[in-house]
């Protein structure tokens, strides 16, 4: 697999008159790792959901390698090459860890034994192989986060959307995940867009960062640029002040 | 259209409204239970039938009018509902729907067949003088029993409204119905609350049974029909909404009565099910339910 280029062009979404996302545009070049950051409720997950086909944007368009994917159903977006994780993890609770990932693998490998072998391989990479026969509901939260990543990867995406997969992980576990993603990106060229609050991970991974606040893009740049950006500092300092 | 037809149509509508009040009270019980516990009471019609039998027995063996035995029945139902929830249903809250369904189905089978063993399969009714009386208002004639039953149902609904808006436990139940987690956080004893709620729901349907026996005789085979009817009413009104249950009762009462007039009587529930299908598809949260996410 190789990465795909993601283009967001002026996308917007309102819920019952409430503007969640307004006129957001940015590109993620093929093979890049970019991050989407911003305070809670800034609209990051809404943007993800528009890319992944859960919501149809009210305005603008989402393109993957030049092909419009906004408005497609989530399964067709997956088919186009987008894998995603959920911020609130959604394992198939009653199924084993291996079966969870196998469902993802079946998308491009219709034969069950193929899919199962491929899934086992991904579990090995993510350090979940020993737990493959456990029921997914018996996993700890960090393992569930890993399972989310494994299941998304099993669909062999060209673009991976990671929604706060570092949250709840210990610093050493974060480092392991960061290394895994870097290595994956270098080896396969997979494009990755991540929503993340763990700045340590963002700074280590992202070549470019997009900052949103109140549904609008307020800044974009390299980690170094973002760290100096006044508007970003205002937003984060504003958030840090006692309410 | 002749004046005669219009008159009988108006008659049918008022008759439907009167019966609909009792339906509404019955459905209110189902709605309260679902709203708070997210448990669908598949034994609701069976509970209704047991209420009807108790009122019939009071009349037959103790010569007490159903209107007078109603408070006693409501209290018995409250206690039984409270105990049933505590002893049997409680562990099933939050379990998969099919397990709850099977549990309440087993309870329903027990209730209806115990009734059958005790009272037999024949239809049992009460013979009261008021069944032959009627009130006249201009050209309209109202059956006295229906008027009494409807008025009593209105009074009970009023009392429930006071209970839910004025008492601490009533407000807590409403809070729990609105936001289960919120109630937990506020530190209410949710387990007791659930038992209390099931008791209140049972008391509603028991009272509705006591009223219904004055209108029609009871057989065990009515149970499944009432369960379905209660479902139709609460879905149409909005599952979990108390106003919706009452309004749904009126709507279904009227639609049954009008369909009974215009179509063959045996087709009347087809109209109810037709309404149910339309509501499910077009407005699944019900006419009075809060709109979905």
């Amino acid at each position: 697999m190789s990465g795909a280029r993601l283009e967001l062009d002026g996308i917007g979404k309102s819920f019952r008159g409430l503007r969640a996302v307004h006129d957001v545009s940015f590109d993620v070049p093929a093979g890049a790792i970019n991050a989407l950051i911003g305070p809670n409720g800034a609209g990051k997950t809404t943007i993800f959901n528009m890319i992944a086909g859960v919501y149809r944007p009210d305005a603008g368009s989402v393109r993957l390698d030049g092909r419009q994917i906004s408005g497609l159903r989530p399964d067709l977006v997956c088919d186009a090459g987008v894998g995603r994780t959920f911020q609130i993890v959604k394992p198939f609770k009653g199924l084993s860890v291996l079966e969870n990932v196998t469902v993802g693998a079946l998308h491009r490998r219709p034969a069950l034994p193929d899919a199962r072998a491929y899934a086992a391989d991904i579990l090995l990479q993510l350090g979940l192989h020993d737990r493959r026969h456990q029921a997914a509901e018996s996993l700890t939260l960090p393992d569930r986060k890993r399972l989310e990543v494994a299941r998304a990867l099993a669909t062999e995406p060209k673009l991976l959307l990671l929604d706060e997969v570092m949250a709840g992980l210990r610093p050493t576990e974060i480092d392991v995940m960061v290394t895994f993603l870097q290595e994956l990106n270098q080896r396969t060229g997979l494009t990755i867009l991540l929503i993340e609050h763990v700045m340590r991970a963002v700074m280590a991974l992202a070549s470019n960062i997009v900052v949103v606040s109140y549904g609008e893009k307020i800044a974009e740049g390299t980690p170094a640029e973002i760290a100096r950006h006044q508007a970003v500092l205002d937003v984060y300092l504003g958030e840090a002040e006692p309410a | 259209m002749t004046a005669d037809f219009l008159l009988s149509l108006a008659q049918a509508i008022t008759k439907g409204l009167l019966t609909g009040m009792v339906y509404g009270l019955m459905a209110l019980g189902l709605s309260v239970i679902f709203g708070v516990m997210r448990v669908v009471n598949f034994a609701h019609g069976e509970m209704m039938v047991v209420g009807m039998y108790l009122a019939w027995m009071g009349f037959e063996y103790l010569q007490v009018s159903p209107m007078l035995s109603l408070p006693v029945i409501a209290v018995i139902f409250f206690g039984a509902g409270y105990a049933l929830q505590r002893a049997v249903i409680s562990p099933f809250i939050g379990r998969p729907e099919h397990q709850q369904f099977l549990l309440l189905l087993a309870i329903a089978i027990l209730l209806v067949n115990v009734s059958l063993v005790i009272a037999g399969p024949d239809s049992r009714g009460v013979q009261m003088d008021s069944q032959f009386e009627s009130y006249e208002l201009g050209p309209f004639v109202f059956d006295a029993v229906r008027v009494h039953a409807a008025l009593t149902a209105v009074v009970i609904a009023g009392l429930l409204w006071l209970f839910f808006t004025r008492t601490r436990i009533g407000k807590s139940i409403r809070a729990a119905a609105d936001n289960n987690l919120g109630a937990l956080v506020v530190g209410l004893d949710v387990r007791r609350l659930y038992a209390f709620t099931f008791g209140v729901g049972a008391a509603c349907v028991g009272a509705a049974g006591a009223l219904m026996i004055t209108i029609i005789p009871v057989t065990p085979f009515l149970a499944a029909e009432y369960t379905l009817l209660a479902f139709v009413i609460v879905i149409v009104g909005g599952l979990g909404s108390m106003t919706g249950a009452l309004a749904g009762g009126l709507l279904i009462g009227v639609s049954e009565a009008v369909a009974g007039l215009l179509l063959q009587p045996s087709l009347k529930s087809m109209v109810s099910f037709g309404i149910l299908i339309l509501v499910l598809l077009l407005r699944p949260q019900g006419l009075f339910g809060k709109s979905g996410p």
Binding site: F86, V103 | V88, L105, F231
Partner: protein
């Protein structure tokens, strides 16, 4: 991979031997059992078959239908009506019957799934359609209305028209139940089956990994309706009569759900074990209540048994047996 390998892959040898022995016993059963025993076994197989059909929808795909009587009723009525009015035998009529039931299932499914009804709401939709159809059949002259439709009871065996004694019906229902068992195993060990399980567990997550949720649910209800219609046809010709009051009753729909729930939802053996347990209990309770001469007593025993099972084995009897006796599949 061959079909056979897919069927038997991962199943412990003792389970395969057990299954083989069971099949031999079932084939020989008519010679071993008396008239009464055979009639009970026929009931077991009937409920096992129709339970498997329902299990595909609820146990595999997670869609709660409490209106499956609709498909059995439509199927039975159409095959019986074609035979009654035009002399078209059930082996031909069954195709029309199944097609009609699949069409009915598609309508219920499309409306329910399209409008994203789930859980209790979907269940109520299925009940509503079944009840609606019941009342319609009550007034449909071709189907005999509320008076019912009766097939001539013929002592002579006529396999071409599915006329004959219990032996004929026994082997037909055995073939249906065994065939469906194999079908269920193949489905479960396929991409479609795994997609169903994913939808059952979490439809949103399933869709995110590329599962076409609506299509998979539609296939589930269509297969389930088709099999249930077969049960309806068999039932109509076995009992030789049909009434809307019973054919489309909610009680009938509930009957279909009991064996899989009691036996173990979503498992292959659940519906079969459940059918054995329920029919066995039913027969015992019938005998018991005849001793006391009280109508309703049998149902009280039955209700108590259900209560005990759901309180102490909420996940069903089969997963517990499989665990205790090591019949489960090997982990791969």
């Amino acid at each position: 991979m061959t079909l056979l390998a897919r069927l038997t892959g991962g199943v412990p040898a003792r389970s395969l031997w057990g299954l083989g022995l069971l099949l031999v016993l079932l084939l020989a059963a008519p010679a071993l059992l008396g008239k009464y025993g055979l009639s009970v076994l026929i009931l077991v197989l009937y409920f096992a078959f129709v339970g498997q059909a329902w299990n595909i929808m609820m146990g595999f795909a997670g869609q709660l239908s409490l209106g499956h009587a609709l498909y059995a009723g439509v199927g039975g009525y159409i095959a019986a009506g074609l035979f009654f009015h035009y002399g078209i035998g059930p082996w031909a009529g069954v195709f029309v019957a199944v097609a009609a039931a699949v069409a009915a299932g598609s309508i219920v499914g499309y409306l329910g799934f399209r409008f994203s009804l789930a859980g209790v709401y979907f269940a109520l939709l299925t009940i509503a359609f079944s009840e609606f159809t019941r009342i319609a059949f009550d007034h449909w002259g071709w189907a005999g209305g509320s008076g019912g439709l009766f097939l001539k009871v013929d002592a002579t065996s006529d396999i071409l028209n599915l006329r004959g004694g219990p032996l004929l019906f026994y082997y037909v229902i055995l073939a249906l139940a065994a065939g469906t068992f194999i079908l269920c195993r193949l489905l479960l060990e396929s991409r479609l089956g795994r997609y169903w399980l994913a939808i059952r567990e979490d439809p949103e997550a399933a869709q995110a990994v590329g599962v076409p949720v609506l299509r998979c649910k539609m296939i589930a209800i269509m297969i389930s309706a088709a099999l249930t219609a077969l049960a309806g046809v068999w039932n109509a010709f076995y009992y030789n009569n049909l009434f809307p009051e019973t054919a489309f009753a909610m009680g009938r729909s509930i009957e279909f759900t009991l064996a899989p729930i009691i036996g173990g939802l979503g498992t292959l053996f659940g519906p079969i074990v459940g059918a054995v347990v329920l029919t066995g209990l039913g027969e015992i309770f019938t005998d018991l209540s005849e001793v006391f001469h009280i109508s309703g007593l049998k149902q009280i025993f039955y209700g108590l048994a259900l209560l005990v099972i759901v309180m102490y084995r909420p996940a069903g009897v089969w997963p517990w047996i499989a665990e205790r006796f090591g019949f489960g599949e090997k982990r791969r």
